[in-house]
């Protein structure tokens, strides 16, 4: 039905897809698997017309097609239910469902009766109960996901892409969805679905395609694969017999810096985590399992809905990150442009910004002091910079990130929180950042680092907490860290079961 061959896609120097291939036959349910950065999202986006590949070909029914935009994809019979939803939040359910395929009546006006009939039929089949004229933003997330699927099916596609649509659905809704997907399969529609829940893969799919680092590793019947096989193809290594264990109680003699108990905040459902002085804690997990929310809640950017955060022996009630930083926390975001670099300000101002935040607001800052402070940081952390008066954007991505790291390290915080700090950073700079972090930890700083790069976490962390759907699915100690265990835990494979 649909086949993709030799697709290459790179973003700048980062290669997302390397000669990737994928084939889904008529009436077949294909599961697309891969860990973070394996290229599965890129693949979906190319098929749905959001990205244009650098090279490669897409064939539908043996005919070469060009997909340059979402309109092209629709015309070729490809419909996508997106993970981050393509629904317009300020429009009503009915308007969203028929958006782009509005049924027209007399004089080119919309035929509402027809639209409602179309929508009602599909929503009934999916068991969605909602007011057709309700604004989508007022509906619960799970209903929104179902509507997203309904919208894709309304396009009457030949190929249906489901990109992690089950992530926010409840158990009974998933069953309804699966029943409908099986019906569609019987009608001869090719279905490609992406999920991180292994149980669903075995329950629903006929075949599995696994990707790793932008390459399609294997394409096999689901029945011929075991859970261990899947982990093997995703990581390139066989998992050990023993699976990651939940071991939340850690007996340590060192001073407890951060003690989070049963924290709840939107995507974070129930997280308990302990960090001791001088320890580097890694936070692993697939994207969207609540890692960013967790870090920002500890910092005070978001308020916990439930549970407690005990920092240096005291319960925190932070109103904003300012409170956290005044109490010796530091925060480095991987989203440089949004949350850390002042793009058009000079390098020295950028380095000094963290120190400035901890001082009295009316403190007089001399030119000399600022220059000395920044020069020290530049020398200490080997930032490759021209003039300290140049704007921060004159630095390379890696050096910008080192700059942010140095900004905080220079303040010697007691607890440094990093959210995917090495995103888009070259290998060399990454290594240097790791060295800086290790050296600081030896001096007694506690580091909590969230990363989508598993190798990085294994290299640097003393302990790794694995997040899965807002809960901890495993804690790995230095001694028993391995790629296989980490990936297994990320898939929700704990001793409790397969995570459905």
């Amino acid at each position: 039905m649909i086949s993709i061959k030799g697709v290459n896609k790179s973003f700048g120097t980062v290669v997302a897809l390397k000669d990737a291939r994928l084939e889904v036959k008529e009436g077949e349910i294909m599961a697309l698997l891969g860990s973070n950065g394996s290229g599965k999202s890129t693949m979906i986006k190319i098929l749905s017309g959001l990205y244009n590949p650098n090279s490669g070909s897409v064939e539908i029914d043996g005919k070469k097609v060009k997909i340059k935009s979402c309109v092209d994809a629709h015309n070729e019979g490809i419909a996508t239910a997106f993970q981050d939803l393509s629904l317009v939040p300020t429009m009503t359910v009915i308007d969203n469902l028929v958006l782009g395929i509005e049924p027209l009546g007399k004089f080119g006006l919309l035929n509402r009766v027809k639209a409602v009939r179309m929508a009602k039929d599909i929503l009934d089949r999916l068991g969605v109960v909602c007011d057709m004229d309700a604004y989508v933003q007022t509906l619960p997330m799970s209903t929104q996901s179902m509507i997203e699927v309904a919208k894709a099916i309304l396009l009457k596609p030949k190929v249906l892409l489901l990109d992690e649509v089950t992530a926010s659905l409840h158990h009974d809704e998933i069953q309804l969805l699966f029943n409908l997907v099986r019906e569609l399969k019987a009608q001869g529609i090719a279905i490609l679905f992406v999920t991180h829940r292994m149980g669903e893969v075995f329950e629903l799919s006929d075949r599995v395609t696994i990707m790793r680092s932008g390459i399609t590793v294997i394409d096999e019947d689901t029945s011929k694969l075991s859970m261990d096989d899947i982990v093997y193809y995703m990581t390139g290594k066989r998992p050990d017999a023993g699976k990651a264990e939940i071991n939340l109680e850690m007996k340590e003699e060192r001073e407890l810096i951060l003690d989070v108990k049963n924290l709840k905040q939107s995507k974070v459902r129930d997280i308990s985590l302990q960090a001791y002085k001088g320890e580097i804690i890694g936070i692993a997990g697939l994207q969207g399992q609540g890692q960013p929310t967790f870090i920002r809640t500890v910092l005070g950017l978001m308020k916990p809905e439930d549970g407690s955060i005990i920092y240096k022996g005291k319960q925190t009630h932070y109103k904003s990150p300012e409170n956290g930083i005044k109490n010796g926390m530091g925060f480095i975001s991987g989203d440089r442009n949004k949350e850390s670099i002042f793009q058009h300000r000079s390098i020295e101002e950028n380095i000094y910004a963290g120190k400035a935040a901890t001082q009295n607001i009316f403190k007089y800052v001399t030119v000399k002091e600022m220059k000395q402070f920044s020069l020290d940081a530049i020398n200490a952390y080997k930032i490759v910079a021209g003039n300290v008066k140049d704007p921060a954007t004159s630095l390379s991505g890696g050096n910008q990130q080192k700059l942010v790291v140095s900004r905080w390290i220079a303040l010697a915080p007691d607890l440094l929180l990093l959210d995917d700090p090495t995103k888009g950073v070259d290998v060399h700079s990454r290594r240097e950042i790791q060295q800086i972090l290790r050296a600081s930890a030896l001096k007694g700083m506690t580091v909590i680092i969230s990363s989508s790069e598993n190798e990085e976490l294994i290299e640097i962390s003393d302990r790794i907490y694995v997040f899965y759907e807002g809960e901890i699915s495993g804690v790995l100690k230095k001694e028993d860290m391995s790629m296989e265990k980490l990936v297994a835990a990320q898939m929700g494979m704990t001793s409790e079961g397969n995570g459905v």
Partner: protein
Amino acid sequence: MIENIKNAIIRFKRSPAFTGFALFGFALILNIIIRGPAVFFSAQSMGTLFSKNAPIILVTMAQAVLLITGTLDISIGIQLALVNVVVIMLPQELGVSIPVAWLIGILVSLAISAVGGFLVAVLRIPSLLATFALTFVVMGINVLIMNVPQGSVPKAYYSTYDSLLFGFLPVAALMILGVALIWAVVKRTKFGKHIYAVGADPKKAFAAGINPTGTIMKAFLFKGFITGIAGIALTLMIASGNPLQVESYGLKSLAACIIGGLGFGGWGSMASGVYGVGFLVLIQNAVYYFFNFLQGTIVGFQITSYWQNFISDLIIMLGLLMTTVTARGQREALKQGISRQIKRGDKHAKES
């Protein structure tokens, strides 16, 4: 039956036009109190109100369409002056008949809107910057066409504009009604739905198979059409030409839209804009008559018109504050939706 009406009221309360409507109602009541219902609703008073304010009302309706599409045009005011100079100068200098001149005026308005649309939709210059720059370009064109205020409109035309149809219906109000009807039709077409989608989130609209560039372009053209009509209304109102006038309508119409409850993109309706501009117009009207009343009753009470503007602008600012309050109400609704979902999630977590 009662249930239905109740639901309709609840739905209207939640709709984006509600704040605007509440403010409009407030201003209306204020006017009625100050002038007395009999005087205020007299055909003559209504006629004056509409004929003096039809251009700003029409311009706000045009601006509302752009705001829904997630863009705006602050050069819209000076564009009215452009239509004005075109429809005055064509008959005067080239002897073109007036209806043809009006048609050309609308075409010119469409053309300048197409330029604005090109800058915003195709070149993707932020609409505030692009249209601010366009203001000066249009100003230059206006002065090239007409260097000093001049010209006239035949009496038959402007007296028709000021007249009342069947003795009670102001002709100016008919123009507004006409545009509102066109919008009522357009709103129910594909284009009408697409502008909401593009305004709310162009990326999501693109993912749904809509062409955002084309949609924004069309919205600008639609705005150009309404602006053309507004320009003709302006010409009939002042019955002469002035190349540098009503520039402030650009910002005024924006303020009216915001007061009416339009968000920046995908939220609100043209009705919001109409309520907003109604509030603006009626407050100015009320304050004017209120000061007249004071001057009439208190002997020796003398005050400059600056005070009038100050008071009416103060009330308008309060109106703007009101909109943030209702926006908070809408945020509440969103919050409730989320908490409902979380609670439901807990229930299912226990089951499985």
